[in-house]
Point group: C2
Chain length 200, copies 2
């Protein structure tokens, strides 16, 4: 019973992952009750998104100017490169405040089931980036999952062959503040096998 | 670490009900990976929504032309008017295939806590609509909730005073196909008190 314009909007919204038909209809109705200026701003923001945001030619992170602010920042170290799978992972590393080097964003992981191979994650471009003569260490900040492990192994081999001096990966274990009774067994096994001396 | 255009989009999406900050960011990133023509279509659809869709002057339902197709349909009965709170409720009644009269959409319910009074649900307009000389019965298809009950009582009083001959409400009870062990106690109480003779 929805008018065509609303139906069309619900159909378009329903193409987004995680947005079912009911949710799409609810969102469309909610948008109809929203202020005009909000709708114009949101509509323009979506329509112009890909004209404004592109991938940085150095790190493949998302940016409006190339190279991106992080790659252009003279205060960051050039000798450590942190490899992440996705843009939010880069934000999480940055938010830790524990890293002041450069980044490389794969925009995916190796996954035979999803047809995602070395070309999809731009492995050649990463190897080239890491071989710029300044990078001494590459940190693999990949998710602790089968795909993350497989991608890490593949990239480590490629990077080692390209002469990268030091290859590291972020530690797995129990997360800060975790209720140990609810920690999954794989994380707990990692935390045990990677145990270290108590600081004096 | 997101570029401003993406941040702005996530901020706008985050203003929608039920869309948290994380979901908004995920949706913005997903949109960035979507095809250009999809983004232009979605953007235009949102920006132009309120120019295209308005409320029908007779039933207050949503429409692109006034009066709406349902109000203009000569095959529908003029003597029964079904009052619903929200547009999806109207779709649900229509989908049942058991109603071929006219509708009136309140776009809300009486709710003192939300500052929603008779003016917000356009009670005057409903009374005027029901007193057109053709309507014989008004069906209150309101949700079985405290707000639905309160709105039903208020409207029944107003409609009765305006001379509406027959006032009815949809039945509450156990829904079709329900596992009786999981039916809430209010529905079960209604189903018991409204029990009727087994059809012969």
């Amino acid at each position: 019973m929805l008018p065509p314009a609303l139906d069309e909007l619900a159909r378009l919204l329903g193409r987004l992952r995680g947005v079912g038909q009911k949710t799409a209809q609810r969102l469309a109705l909610q948008l109809l009750d929203s202020p005009d200026d909000y709708l114009r701003a949101l509509g323009a923001s979506i329509a112009e998104l890909r004209d404004r945001v592109r991938r940085c030619s150095r790190c493949r992170g998302l940016t409006e100017r190339d190279p991106c602010p992080t790659c252009s920042d003279p205060r960051r170290r050039d000798d450590v490169l942190c490899v992440v799978a996705h843009v939010p992972d880069q934000s999480a590393v940055e938010a830790s405040g524990a890293f002041d080097g450069r980044y490389f964003v794969l925009h995916g992981l190796l996954s035979p089931l999803d047809d995602s191979g070395p070309e999809e994650i731009e492995a050649d471009r990463l190897v080239e980036r890491a071989a710029d003569g300044k990078v001494r260490e590459v940190i693999l900040a990949l998710p602790p999952s089968p795909e993350g492990e497989a991608t890490g192994h593949y990239l480590a081999e490629r990077l080692r062959a390209a002469g990268v001096e030091r290859l590291t990966r972020i530690a797995t274990g129990v997360p800060h503040g975790a209720d140990l009774g609810f920690v999954d067994r794989v994380s707990m096994a990692h935390a045990l096998s990677r145990r270290h001396e108590v600081d004096k």
